[in-house]
Assembly symmetry: C2
Homo-oligomer: 224 residues x 2
């Protein structure tokens, strides 16, 4: 059986932190800390909504987390500024090495998938804009499942939908919660730690591989 590689999208294939540039025009020097609050709350809101059995899509969590960050950092961003930030987030650039690395992996015979917490149409558009769409056999979103990664049900449902077994699937993500979630159901995982400031949650989980970028991922699978 061919090996499948399932890629998370934001922070793995496309650079979510590039929103710092337009953000700085509203938030100034505090942009990095504002962005951190926004991302923390976005995830917390997604996890809490799930826990409350309150069925919302990830975009609402993103919007309300931005509102929280404004309150927390005592910054006002006008409504058109918020819309501009969301629009920008739909056209995030690919990491510079992503396209060539994915093409290499495809040539090497791996089946590639994108697997995201974001809404399907948005993520398709994002990958199209980043010129990565054609690398994937399919793009899989949790949308409609009423839950999010790292719920084990979501990873299982990804495997079933794409006819790929546990033993033949590697999961690749730059996000700690997502790597731990995939490992939790027994997948092999690679963590893409792009900077030394990127932190793995200290839960004592042993990862199968850590790489700095997708070029290192290609090298890792070439040597296997």
């Amino acid at each position: 059986m061919k090996i499948s590689l399932a890629f998370d999208v934001h922070g793995t294939l496309v650079d979510a932190s590039s929103v710092l540039e337009p953000l700085a025009s509203y938030v100034g020097g505090e942009a990095a800390s504002f962005f951190e609050t926004w991302k923390y709350k976005q995830r917390e809101y997604a996890f809490r909504r799930r826990m409350m059995e309150d069925d919302v899509d990830f975009s609402l969590c993103t919007r309300q987390a931005l509102d929280y960050a404004c309150l927390r950092h005592k910054v006002e961003i006008p409504e058109e500024g918020k819309l501009a930030l969301f629009d920008f987030s739909k056209r995030l650039p690919a990491y510079p090495e992503a396209k060539v690395a994915l093409e290499r992996l495809k040539e090497m015979g791996f089946k590639l998938f994108a697997f995201t917490n974001g809404p399907l149409d948005e993520v398709k558009e994002l990958l199209r804009h980043a010129e990565l769409e054609d690398c994937f056999m399919s793009i899989y979103s949790v949308e409609g499942s009423r839950t999010f990664k790292p719920d084990p049900a979501v990873y299982e449902s990804f495997l079933r939908s794409n006819h790929t077994g546990h033993r033949f699937t590697w999961f690749i993500s730059g996000n700690s919660f997502d790597v731990i979630g995939a490992k939790n159901i027994g997948l092999k995982v690679v963590w893409v730690q792009r900077t030394l400031d990127s932190i793995m949650d200290p839960w004592g989980v042993s990862l199968d591989q850590i790489v700095k970028n997708l070029d290192e991922l290609v090298a890792f699978f070439r040597d296997k």
Copy 2:
């Protein structure tokens, strides 16, 4: 039927932020921001563990969130320092007005309960040390339920265990996630907003009452 008042504990009756003082000896001027990271992650970890169907108690989330905060803020706290912080957290002081306010509410005929995400023995000891224990008919912990507030099942289970109905129960908390969780199952809620820096998640939830402290809570129930 008598009205029941169910109180969250940390940040509602006892002052969790008093840990800032011992924390400053390890972390220095960054203590407030370190503490914020610690609290953010403590909750995120609890919500994520639940989402991953990974049954751990809240204390593990607290410990691993402290480890995360050390990594994030590039601070080393020796093992005995961490133990000292956990010990300190088991003997947090009551807010100055808490004891008298709870006694007034009891005299006014309300049935008082403590209702916490923390382990039962720890919270009992905490309330004993804070000299609040005798104010309550019972102290209820989620321990053993394999989940945490704001899971609706937890609030329902509290109501069942204490033979108190939705219509006759008010829930009082200083924590936004908890107030929203209680409102989500139809309880009347009071948010204790002790400082203007305390933020209600901007989810558009309408609260029944906001007070600055428990003296104002007494006044609110006296006027009802």
